[in-house]
Subunit: 472 residues, 2 copies
Amino acid sequence: MLIDSIRHQLRSIVGEAYFKDDPEALVSYSYDATPMHQSLPDGVIYPADTAQVAAILRIANEHRIPVIGRGAGTNLSAGTVPVAGGLVMVMNRMNRLIEIDRDNLTATFQPGLNTKQFHQAVEQLGYFYPPDPSSMVISTMGGNIMECAGGLRGLKYGTTKDYVIGLEAVLPSGEIIRTGGKLYKDVAGYDLTKLLVGSEGTLAIITEATVKLLTAPTYKKTMLAMYKDIYAAARTVSSIIGQHRITPSTLEFIDNPTLRVVEDFNKIGLPLDMEAILLIEQDGSDEATIDADIEKIRHICLEEGAAEVQLARSAEEAEKLMKARRSALSTLARISPTTILEDATVPRSKIAEMVIAINDIAKKYNVNICTFGHAGDGNLHPTCTTDARNPEEIHRVEQAFEEIFEKAIGLGGTITGEHGVGAVKAPYLEWKVGAAGIELMKAIKHAFDPNQIMNPGKIFAKPSRKRVVIQH
Amino acid sequence: MLIDSIRHQLRSIVGEAYFKDDPEALVSYSYDATPMHQSLPDGVIYPADTAQVAAILRIANEHRIPVIGRGAGTNLSAGTVPVAGGLVMVMNRMNRLIEIDRDNLTATFQPGLNTKQFHQAVEQLGYFYPPDPSSMVISTMGGNIMECAGGLRGLKYGTTKDYVIGLEAVLPSGEIIRTGGKLYKDVAGYDLTKLLVGSEGTLAIITEATVKLLTAPTYKKTMLAMYKDIYAAARTVSSIIGQHRITPSTLEFIDNPTLRVVEDFNKIGLPLDMEAILLIEQDGSDEATIDADIEKIRHICLEEGAAEVQLARSAEEAEKLMKARRSALSTLARISPTTILEDATVPRSKIAEMVIAINDIAKKYNVNICTFGHAGDGNLHPTCTTDARNPEEIHRVEQAFEEIFEKAIGLGGTITGEHGVGAVKAPYLEWKVGAAGIELMKAIKHAFDPNQIMNPGKIFAKPSRKRVVIQH
């Protein structure tokens, strides 16, 4: 609970309507897209501009009140759950697309801007911003930046980190910094821009960002390769990129259980008798090159044992396939009370081995795990359909995921490819970065946030307020 | 001077032959490629492996001895000059190319590996590592990483930062950390990899690196556009990339004074009656697309007022042109006792304005400044031919560069695009990042290096040991 004088100060910064601490507001911001994590904040605040963000942070810093920056809350690591209470700072009033600079191929915007709206604005002018998290219809660009969002085009085009070149950010002290700029090269001191991208709200609140844009590819082709043997599908991934040196813009893996629920929801004729499919897209400016790539990929798929390969006959059909893939999480969420999606990531050459391991581990712990994901990146999403009301099963699920993380690390991989550490994976971070890495990261955190007010309880493992579980 | 017991300890780590403190060794490592900066170290040490690096750092940390990591010393910011004495740690024994992983499209190597040798090893297998600093025949990959080297292909392919995905590094405490891996996506905690790239040896010593590789482009075309009007050349840059949305792999600007010395040295028939030339290259896998791009670029150049456009008739001719461009610094260095090369960088759309400003400033201070550089990136290299023996002239040169940095910042640019801050630009860093930015960077430095032993006197301005100037 915030004391009256602080509530008064906060209201005087943002105006009466933009600070809330009624029970409805507190409950609304007590959870995000992550299942089984909930904790009430002490207040919700909606700043209108950078000056307000700075004023709020100064007060929070003085009184040691936790501040949890939040966009649309679509993250899957409990990254915006206020596990230590405090103020949820909702950035949705700061949602302006400030500029698309055609000479410099950059766009500048506020963090609350919706990702899909940004894509559309950019694409209307013939430009291209590749990062396309599956949540993009709802998520915000600020959230994408704080989590370093990936998506289906990461293989060829990289992730959010590869595009952010300038930031305005407010430190917990209320000081405003500007990093980078409309610059493709800048080595003036340490790279604070890339450090802030993916920092999960634990270092600063970003209030403006500048990203690089690309010229939109003018042509693309989409195909489905279907497999009776799940490991043949996984092997195909290495073969296309490693041995044959083709980098498709999208190379997605979907196993049979995922296929079934996606088909059930989308009704687009996915082959239910297959053990796995690969959804492959190539894009670019030259039709002949892309057609040739797709033809080569078709051959490779068949060589590696695909039962069938189908080319999308139209842009609409291709779009339907991509949309179906993007719906995987939401459709899986419909078939069970609780759906836990992970993003263990391995070197691409280890995809087949990882798929085998996931299936073995699921069997060992008698839990139901579907797997889909960005196979070209080595970024898989093993997804467990379970029921949070069954603590015994949940315990087995936790053991299974723990073993999946361990396996990923063992294969030279990581505990999270694109979802972030948040509260969910904090206990496992040391497996990846070591004790010295954790100490270093804590010291960096301290450099930005000596009073530990920025999104406490995230990234670094520590005992947190007991979680309240809500069913959906 | 190191006391006997420490010298003894250091020798017992690396062996008698690999610690030196005779006058010849000390003088050899008292300077780098930066003119007018020199300072003697107290010793020079050549570790053979990571364990030796760790053992050396532990001793240095305990006794507060500065450690200056060094590759080939080709940097231009006095980044490897031991301004506070201490130990120069030369990495050239750790020069092994450990692995080229074809399945994962990565290469792993030790920091002392020569850049050109690495390029050749990669290219022999049909792969491509884009960063190509002009110093690459001499420079090391470790030096490239510590300075975040750019080069002629940065416009289309980015810089070193865009390729490094994993590091092994030794902290001043002697602890060894591993960041990233053979992973295209990894958001497990703060991005220590990108923070270390470009950190100029002030945070840690890297002992191993993993970089992404690309498939080599199979076709390229090179052209020269020649201008009687220097500003028409600068305008062409914006027009090609901004208005016509073509991103060439190389887009270099060379003004007449640079042209004259480059031609004098290379004798390849550059047009001495032109005020400026653009050297343009496009590459890729599809001949028709590249031919079409080059044809469009030719039109744009003529439209913007090029007096003449010439296509390279052969790969040899193209290679000669690129080699001539890369020789700009070394040829300019031949015509005057002292050559100071800078790398102020602006948003690409401001190139014409920046070229005008540089020429005006040179006139104002009556100094001789030639300008060439990576125009497509907005990364210019105004280069002053002067004489360090003339303090009055040197003072005017310093004033001129100060005004150039100020102008670059005013245009939304930065004080350094690819050479680093080092000792040379430390006094100007605050102009770019602000007082709050400096404080934050100092706190990050402290997080890694609480005893301030790692390459002290670099990045952050402070009174340094008086410099001894050597003529060349």
